[in-house]
Symmetry: C2
Subunit: 215 residues, 2 copies
């Protein structure tokens, strides 16, 4: 049987896993809202961001409280400090989904993404979803092997991000500045989402091994 | 006379102040590089970002080490946790200066910013510099009053950011997409820099008062 202290430590891990799931779900739904000009879904994502923020808030309070009450040994302390950092990354991933949903809302009933760029955004969204699922598993299983592999997905995201810029910079771009600006920001939101997912993986790797991962 | 523990705590505060100074300096120099197409200065900023990253790295190691060795009481623990978070914000401010410098380098010997937008960027840079100086003082003096006032500078930054978008969205915009995209990203870098400065103020406020500031 585990004592209360270790149950609380496990609970912190479980909340991080939950946050990763919510962030991924938020980005998935934001993409649905963005590509389908779905105002209701956009509003849901925007509202759900507060729930992720609150989850982070509560989690961090529990983490610091545990530090203060239990005077954790070095290994557990490293876990708690890493939790604070991972929760910050995951909260930021929720923010970025929120930003995507806000673009969808701003352009409603229009669609912010021109049809020839839908495929790139869909692919970016798929990678964002894969990354958040992997991150949840990596936190749950403390899987350093999988953490190292996040770089591959991030590389794919970067390639898509560059493809997006190539399209935006086409001299024959027919959509004007507003669409170009929207797409510049949207592209950055997905790309930063992936960066934060990789950052979670890096922190997990350090937490488990005490060494810095080259991801 | 202070004991070693409290000297180490003070040292952590001093490093945060130093990081705020370096981040502000980096953004100031990045602006010089950007508006003057100064490749040498751009390269300096890009190189100096590694120094800020290293400073954060060392600082966080000292902070966690102090947590582990000293089993700090609740108040000191709050200081140490806040330090970890402030250092993350300050490191990110350095990254954003780095991003601005990279745009300057990418467009060299051209100037990324069209002449009619120079004034907005100059003003954004002035606010960024003011914010980082204020943040350094706020950390040094644990000044909650000044922390609350950071919102005013951030509001000004947001106004400038909106002015920039208005210019970019002018139907008569003569500069094409590449410049519009550059300016969209540059504007976001300054705006995010200000957000992170406010975030440092918010963390300092919480650290001192135990309450959340409405900034």
């Amino acid at each position: 049987m585990r004592d209360q202290y270790h149950e609380e430590l496990d609970g912190i891990g479980a909340t991080l896993v939950e946050m990763a799931g919510l962030a991924g779900q938020a980005m998935g739904n934001a993409t649905v809202a963005l590509l389908g000009a779905n105002l209701g879904v956009a509003e849901e994502v925007i509202a759900s961001d507060k729930a992720i923020d609150q989850l982070q808030h509560d989690l961090d309070a529990r983490t610091v409280d545990l530090m203060a009450r239990q005077q954790p040994v070095a290994g557990d302390l490293r876990t708690l400090v890493a939790s604070l950092r991972m929760s910050a990354d995951l909260e930021r991933m929720g923010d970025l989904a929120n930003h995507v949903a806000k673009v969808a809302r701003m352009r409603y009933p229009g669609i912010a993404v021109p049809s020839e760029l839908v495929e790139i955004i869909e692919k970016m969204a798929v990678i964002a979803e894969i990354l958040s699922k992997k991150v949840a598993v990596i936190i749950r299983d403390r899987d350093t092997e999988k953490a190292l592999q996040l770089g591959d997905d991030d590389d794919e995201m970067d390639i898509l991000h560059r493809r997006l810029f190539v399209a935006l910079l086409d001299p024959a771009w027919p959509h004007g500045n507003e669409v170009a600006i929207d797409m510049t920001l949207i592209g950055r939101y997905y790309e930063r989402f992936a960066d934060h997912a990789v950052s979670v993986g890096r922190r997990l790797y350090y937490l488990v091994t005490g060494e810095y991962a080259d991801i």
